[in-house]
């Protein structure tokens, strides 16, 4: 099972000090978080894509991920998310294939539609077309990666005549794709149709809802013949704040929670931790909570944690990554490995897919 962190790169005033980091600081901090994630043994770092303040996440995640590819060795670099609606699928095909070469295959993508209405018109699109855009653009993106010569016509971009997207994907294997959606059954259906991964970013949602979305994806994954329902590739979001003593964690995190841009001034910390995966307490409490996620959604492949938002100081976010890597994830790995049946796959990586392709090829040779 893969564990990692994901960030939206929000530049939020620290409510306890009134200080706000500069965009430059936030961007450099993000790089440090990713490097630390690798050092402490996490598997994945994923960045959001943003086009508006208060975010200092890259408008094109490949810019950040290409840099991270150069300063890390093992970490899988991903997105949370890549906007499949407002980006030109041709540019996505080209940029992520190039990144795949730079990173020696250590990348994958999570597709998202984007939930910020004004972003769509900035790129000449309409949020009401969100689902049809995601469907058409992704169908084209897949063809651009898997077919050398693409002649295509659709509704949302100009037609292509004998177009070859360059560079070609590394080893002829398209980057692995996760589809992220919180509420839209159509996107779970899309992930299932292609046999791609499905990521439910449940950080602000009750488990009952996550369960429903994942169950739909698993059922349809089996329906489309990619394997049994429990072999579908599932990822979940998570949100934690830890201190050795759980009361210290609650005391320190409460002002950040109460003023957080997304849910601040609403439910109490206690209500929100009960209803959503947010866990504020000791590393042991986090282990206990997250070890139970598989009871709700089945054995799953990727768990990402949000640790660096709502104005938390960089030093604090780094401490959270360190705690995850040294205390939480080693335990969660053991628990996940002990419960996962052999026929449930790990998260696909470039290396595993290359090996699987080679096996398939050998089978073919033998048959011949």
């Amino acid at each position: 099972m893969q564990f990692g962190i994901f960030t939206v790169g929000d530049v939020t005033t620290d409510p306890t000090t009134g200080t706000t980091v500069s965009e430059n600081e936030r961007i450099k901090h993000t790089v440090e978080l990713a490097r630390l994630a690798e050092q402490v043994g996490l598997d994945v770092f994923a960045t959001g894509e943003h086009h508006n303040p208060p975010f200092a996440a890259p408008a094109n995640p490949t810019v950040l991920l290409a840099h991270l590819a150069a300063v890390t060795e093992r970490l899988v670099l991903s997105t949370s998310t890549t906007l499949i609606t407002t980006n030109d699928p041709v540019r996505l095909a080209e940029d992520y294939a190039y990144l795949q070469h730079l990173a020696d295959g250590r990348i994958d993508l999570m597709m998202g539609r984007g939930n910020t209405g004004p972003v769509y018109p900035w790129f000449g699109k309409d949020i009401r077309d969100g689902i049809p855009l995601a469907v058409e653009n992704y169908a084209l993106l897949r063809r651009l990666w898997t077919e050398e010569n693409v002649t295509w016509e659709g509704k949302y971009r100009g037609p292509l005549q004998s177009f070859t997207s360059t560079p070609r994907p590394l080893d002829g294997i398209a980057p692995f794709v996760w589809h992220g959606s919180i509420r839209s059954p159509e996107i779970a259906e899309q992930a299932a149709y292609y046999g791609d991964g499905f990521f439910h970013n449940n950080i602000f949602w009750p488990m009952s809802h996550t369960k429903q979305m994942v169950a739909l994806y698993r059922r349809r994954f089996a329906h489309y013949g990619h394997g049994t329902a429990d072999q579908a590739i599932v990822g979940l979001g998570g949100q934690v704040f830890m201190r050795a003593n759980s009361q210290d964690a609650v005391r320190e995190f409460r002002p950040y929670f109460d003023n957080a841009p997304v849910y601040g001034h609403g439910p109490s910390l206690e209500d929100f931790t009960r209803e959503t995966p947010l866990t504020v307490g000791s590393p042991e409490q986090v282990i206990e909570r997250y070890a139970g996620m598989a009871d709700a959604v089945g054995d799953y492949q990727r768990q990402l944690f949000l640790v660096d938002h709502a104005g938390l100081p960089h030093k604090t976010a780094m401490e959270q990554v360190e705690l995850l890597g040294t205390q939480v994830v080693p335990e969660l790995r053991k628990i996940a490995a002990a419960r996962k049946p052999a026929h449930v796959p790990d998260a696909p990586t470039h290396a595993s897919r290359l090996a699987a392709g080679a096996t398939k090829h050998e089978d073919l040779e033998v048959t011949r």
């Binding site: 259906e189 899309q190 602000f204 009750p206 849910y263 609403g266 209500d271 929100f272 209803e275």
Partner: protein
């Protein structure tokens, strides 16, 4: 004989509240009217006051939980809804509208709704026609022709069966019962998670 699920949503704040009083009268009259037509009523009353904090949370988080979730589900699955609000500043109360704002999309589509309102003066009575009815029309609910308004003076006067508050309650309850009579009981709403649109259809093939 079938059993009709009638959900009463009332936004009165006081204890006792005249909106709650009116809601109870309408519920009783509806139960009687249904009985006369051979149906039973199963009445659930939602006092919005109890969900005030949860509704504010739901606006901020995007999801409802606990007892508010149960109330929203009850409205979604209701055969009929009786909606009662006090008039605040010439319209339905903010609490009432907040409940409508956190309802699931399509929750009231096709649902027969009896509207009622209370106020300190009869000069507010057209709130039912100018504010409530257009909103329910937007929600694709089926509103009964008679909406019931009760001003302070109504509680003190008898009036004739035709013109008094009791008469208006009975007329409106009868209209609601007529709408329900002969209708098949509400089957559960389409579960989009159980029955997704097949992807070939989304692809346009």
């Amino acid at each position: 004989m079938s059993t009709r699920r009638v959900v009463v949503v009332q936004a009165g704040l006081g204890q006792p509240s005249s909106s709650r009083l009116l809601a109870d009268r309408l519920a009783t009259a509806t139960r009687d009217a249904l009985l006369e037509r051979g149906d039973e009523a199963e009445v659930v009353t939602v006092d919005l006051r109890e969900h005030a904090h949860a509704m504010a949370d739901a606006l901020l988080t995007g999801f409802a939980t606990g007892e508010l979730r149960a109330a929203l589900d009850a409205v979604r699955d209701a055969d009929a809804v009786i909606a009662v609000t006090p008039v605040f500043q010439a319209s339905y109360s903010g609490l009432f509208k907040t409940f409508v704002d956190v309802l699931d999309d399509g929750a009231l589509r096709g649902t027969p709704v009896l509207m009622a309102a209370t106020a300190g003066t009869a000069r507010h009575s057209l709130v039912l026609e100018h504010a409530m009815r257009p909103m329910f029309a937007y929600l694709k609910a089926i509103t009964v022709p008679t909406a019931v308004f009760a001003a302070s003076e109504d509680w003190g006067s008898g009036g004739t069966v035709d013109t008094g508050l009791s008469g208006r309650i009975d007329v409106a309850a009868g209209e609601l019962a007529d709408l329900l009579t002969g209708r098949p009981p509400r089957t559960d709403r389409v579960d989009e998670f159980a029955d997704p649109v097949p992807f070939e259809q989304l692809l346009g093939h």
